[in-house]
């Protein structure tokens, strides 16, 4: 039953792709067809995942089709179905959204190609998380990369887009190369490509090879996940892609890397030493803080969101890392608590990041700009997008009672539990990570206050923003769904934890549902850890009651309260856009405080109409140095190119030289291999 659903959904993706390609003339129709197919298929995906999760079963699909020597194994276990769930939810929403969004391109570019690659992309992601065989995994993994690459360079006339695409595909391919080596090393021990055999030999691999594989995996998957300093491609590629694609890339594609981490570290490489977990933890913390610091300085809203994805991946990895540490100290209950934190945040991030990218897409759709300095006052012009963005912003900054807060809370709880770890060093590291997470949370809030406040509030700064109007309805339906999901996951965490618990029972063999949920005196289900309880539901209820009381009291105090509207007091002049606070100005204090990291460069050049007296114009350039490109990537690539340039002497074009090569080779062989 379930496997049939699964196969059908895959087939539907394929059919959608082919349909999109076949409908030559009617682009609009092709557009609808492909995305509707995708939507249906993702619904089936949701159903599949739900079935597998709820009767927590594992389903194997093995085909011996096509290639002789190699089997095609797929496995649907709770872990993979959790990811399938996330992917399918997001892809459903994105598909519905795309139906509206793609109108931007109809008859301007080849929408058929978009639909084609889009469907393949979704299919590839589903297959990545369900593959049970190294060979199949590599194929679908690279297919995912390849298709998303074509989506990134969809607007290839723009040089920036081309650069983004190049950087993306190159880095992704380096990652896959490392992954391949890791797989092969495992293969050398397992003797077969199947993941099952990897699981079987997990304990027999010698430590040194395990460590090699560990680092290969960090880099291989880390590039896709966008951890610092391997994040370079992410803030380039995600903005370059069409918004409906960035929804998926940021929402779920980078999560497939997290899936890889979990598969390897909790199944193929167990038991793992504590310091692995510590490394993951530190990587997570670094990515979190640096990611948000760079997001803070961004003016391009999609780049900002991309950097914030880096930050969130960091937070997820903190959860995973804690879980690994606890596991290696064999404290399974805490390990699964941390795992809940990580996976919960994973799902949350998928939801609100998708929502935010959708709103960014709406903004681009109606204003054709992504630079928030050119926006403003949209809240009056796009009256539905604004609240949706606000909800997204609130939940990404972990404001209760929305979902972001829950996972943040769990992260804090698991970090607090670091005191159970025997080693003092690790204890201290965990607590410092706690501080980092706290700082990150505050910075996220700032960052999204900036993003929302500058682009939606006050007066429009440019014509684009003034002429902005609301986008087609179909784009709201999907995003409304996401917003609702944000609220739901914020208010009823126990439900989500029930799902994640299935995953835990599979990969950690630990069912802590009883331990982490209980009932309060109003018999409402609440979440609890060994430190405390949390019931966002009742907190919200009380909040609403108090709000009611406040309003009532105020009404009683002055029944006929009225507001008078006047223009803002700006020291006597009529308020105009130029007087508004800009995004750059808003984050200026942080630029000063963290100037060691940013190395800000600013130049002011003034042109005078009458020298030194009447200023005609003042140009102010302020930018931050991209230290990773400057000090890490450029040197490496330059080095490689320099070496290659030296190598050109081999082909000097002189035939005597060429003959001499052969002669010398011959002599060497005769002397030494005789």
């Amino acid at each position: 039953m379930v496997e049939h659903l699964f196969i059908i959904s895959i087939i539907l993706y394929l059919v959608g792709a082919l349909f999109a390609l076949c409908l030559f003339k009617w682009q609009m129709v092709g557009n609808y067809v492909s995305f509707i197919f995708a939507a249906i298929a993702s619904c089936l995906g949701i159903a599949t995942a739900a079935m597998v999760l709820f009767n927590s079963s594992t389903i194997r699909l093995d085909f011996q089709l096509f290639l002789p020597v190699i089997k095609y194994n797929f496995l649907l276990d709770p872990l993979s179905s959790y990811f399938i769930l996330a992917i399918s939810v997001i892809s459903f929403v994105a598909s519905v959204y795309s139906i509206g969004y793609t109108r931007l391109y109809v008859n301007k570019r080849d929408v058929r190609f978009l639909g084609f690659t889009y469907n393949l992309f979704l299919m590839a992601m589903i297959l990545v998380v369900s593959a049970n065989n190294a060979f199949v995994f590599m194929i679908v993994w690279e297919l995912m990369t390849l298709v998303s690459f074509f989506l990134v360079i969809f607007e290839h006339e723009n040089p920036a887009t081309r650069k983004a695409g190049l950087v993306y595909i190159v880095m992704a391919h380096i990652g896959s190369g490392l992954l391949a080596i890791a797989f092969f090393i495992l293969l050398a021990y397992a003797g077969s490509f199947s993941f099952d055999s990897f699981r079987d030999v997990a304990s027999q691999i010698p430590a040194v090879y395990k460590n090699i594989v560990f680092f290969l995996i960090i880099f291989g998957f880390g590039i896709k996940a966008g951890i610092f300093p391997l994040h370079l491609w992410l803030p380039m590629a995600h903005p370059a892609a069409p918004s409906n694609i960035s929804m998926i890339m940021s929402g779920v594609m980078i999560k497939t890397a997290i899936y890889g981490f979990i598969r390897f570290y909790f199944e193929f490489l167990t038991p793992c030493p504590p310091w692995w977990g510590v490394i993951i933890l530190i990587i997570g913390a670094t990515s979190a803080i640096l990611g948000i610091l760079y997001a803070l300085m961004e003016r391009d809203i999609k780049t900002l969101l991309a950097y914030s994805s880096v930050e969130n991946v960091g937070i997820i990895l903190i959860g995973i890392g804690m879980s690994m540490i606890f596991k290696s100290y064999n404290q399974m209950a805490l390990s699964s608590l941390a795992m809940i934190a990580g996976l919960y945040h994973l799902f949350n991030h998928a939801v609100f990041k998708c929502l935010l990218f959708g709103c960014a897409g709406n903004i681009y759709y109606s204003t054709h700009t992504k630079n928030i300095e050119e926006l403003g006052g949209l809240i009056k012009r796009m009256q539905i997008t604004a609240p949706l963005f606000l909800i997204g912003a609130l939940s990404i900054s972990a404001i209760p009672p929305l979902n972001g807060f829950i996972s943040e809370w769990f992260i804090f709880q698991s970090l607090l539990n670091g005191f159970n770890i025997p080693s003092v060093i690790i204890k201290i590291i965990t607590i410092i990570c706690g501080a980092v997470v706290a700082l990150t949370g505050a910075l996220v809030a700032t960052c999204f206050i900036k993003a929302f406040g500058i682009s939606f509030l006050a007066i429009p700064r440019t014509k684009h923003a003034e002429k902005a109007k609301e986008v087609p309805v179909i784009m709201f339906i999907s995003m409304g769904l996401l917003a609702a999901l944000c609220v739901f996951m914020g208010l009823f965490p126990a439900k989500i934890m029930m799902i994640i618990n299935h995953v835990n029972t599979q990969i950690l063999g630990m069912n802590i549902l009883k331990a982490v949920t209980s009932y309060d005196w109003l018999q409402m289900k609440i979440v609890r850890t060994n430190f405390t309880e949390l019931s966002p539901k009742s907190a919200t209820v009380f909040g609403l009651i108090l709000l009611g009381i406040t309003l009532g009291a105020l009404f009683l105090m002055r029944p006929k309260f009225i507001r008078k509207f006047y223009e803002t007091w700006t020291c006597g002049i009529a308020p105009e856009p130029r007087l508004e606070y800009t995004a750059t100005a808003f984050t200026k204090p942080f630029k000063v405080v963290f100037s060691n990291l940013y190395k800000p460069r600013l130049e002011v050049n003034t042109t005078y109409s009458v020298p030194n007296f009447f200023v005609k114009s003042i140009a102010y350039v302020g930018e931050i140095t991209p230290i990773f490109e400057k000090y890490l990537y450029n040197p490496v690539s330059n080095f490689v190119l320099r070496i290659s340039d030296k190598a050109r002497l081999i082909h000097a074009g002189n035939i005597h030289l060429y003959l001499a090569y052969i002669f010398i080779t011959l002599l060497i062989l005769i002397m030494f291999f005789r």
Binding site: T532, A539, R563, F565, T568, Y581, V593
Partner: protein, 316 residues
């Protein structure tokens, strides 16, 4: 605990926090006036202000959106919810189950979020300036706050303020712990930063370029201003309450006896008064720091809290 207590205690707490918070402000103003050799306004001046403002209509900027109008209510209510989460008179907190100190911290963040938004909402430059500075200060304060709170909750083994208080009440030896003193110091600095008192921010200034909190709320008037003022007053009181009831919990009623409540109330007033007095001294003996000196101060707080944690882990 019985249903009655679950009805009565919240109401009591609300009354105490909501009722006393203007008085604390008035008290601080009075003391400072005394230090400046003025008679100063009456203790109850803040009450008069609030009532006056509540009676008035509001003037709203025409560029502002519904965010601006929603902000006062959000801020006020979020503070009220917090008021239900902290132990004031009795160590058994009514809404213990709904959340812990982390929730409290993020509820503060909720109010701050909306305030900062509304500061940007009225296309005036001062608002934005105030908002960005406020965000900077609070972000810097966040880690120190978190860590000092962690120190306390790790010594006790819970993050619920109520349980913390009762734990300290039960065994006073727990309190004699050097790391707690470090945490206490850190928390004091953080509270000053959070409530925007001198030397971080001057609550009395309306000189444009020095405004932080005042800059944010510059455009509010009438009822909205009243709610925000009141909320900030309550924030001060709540933070002080957390401070005193965590680090010097003596006298806090553990049960729900009438006498117990009376005693703890009396002691509570004394402690709060003491700390208010300290703030007054501080404010009248220091000048406001330069904006970019503030991170150093908060950094000190952070270092203190880190030391607290490390000493806790290493020494035990």
């Amino acid at each position: 605990m019985s249903l009655t207590s679950n009805i009565i205690l919240p109401i009591l707490q609300l009354i105490v926090i909501v009722g006393l918070s203007p008085l604390v402000k008035g008290f601080i103003n009075k003391i400072e006036a005394r230090f400046q050799c003025r008679r100063g306004p009456s203790l109850f001046q803040p009450y008069y202000n609030l009532i006056k403002l509540l009676r008035k209509d509001a003037v709203v900027s025409e560029t502002a959106s519904w965010i601006f109008r929603a902000t006062p209510y959000v801020t006020f209510v979020s503070i009220l919810v917090i008021a239900l989460l902290v132990p004031v008179l009795s160590s058994c907190v009514p809404l213990n189950f709904t959340g812990d100190v982390i929730l409290i911290i993020y509820l503060f963040a909720l109010g701050r979020f909306f305030l900062a938004l509304s500061s940007l909402d009225t296309a005036s430059a001062f608002g934005g300036m105030g908002g960005s500075r406020e965000m900077m200060i609070s972000s810097m304060a966040e880690p120190a706050m978190m860590l000092s709170v962690f120190t306390v909750s790790l010594t006790v083994g819970t993050t619920n303020l109520g349980n913390i208080t009762s734990a300290f009440l039960n065994s006073s030896t727990l309190l004699l712990n050097p790391s707690l003193f470090l945490a206490f110091a850190a928390l004091c600095i953080v509270i000053i930063a959070e409530t925007g008192r001198i030397p971080i921010d001057n609550p009395f200034t309306h000189l444009e370029l020095t405004m932080v909190h005042e800059g944010m709320v510059l455009e509010f008037s009438g009822r909205y201003l009243a709610l925000i003022e009141w909320a900030s007053g309550m924030k001060l009181l709540i933070l002080l309450t957390i401070l005193v009831n965590t680090f010097l919990p003596w006298g806090v009623a553990s049960g729900l006896t009438f006498t117990g409540l009376i005693i703890s109330f009396a002691l509570y007033v004394v402690k709060i008064g003491f700390f208010a007095f300290l703030i007054a001294i501080l404010e009248s003996s220091f000048a406001k720091l330069r904006l970019f000196r503030i991170p150093n101060l908060l950094g000190t707080a952070f270092i203190l809290s880190i030391l607290a944690i490390i000493s806790l882990y290493v020494v035990g």
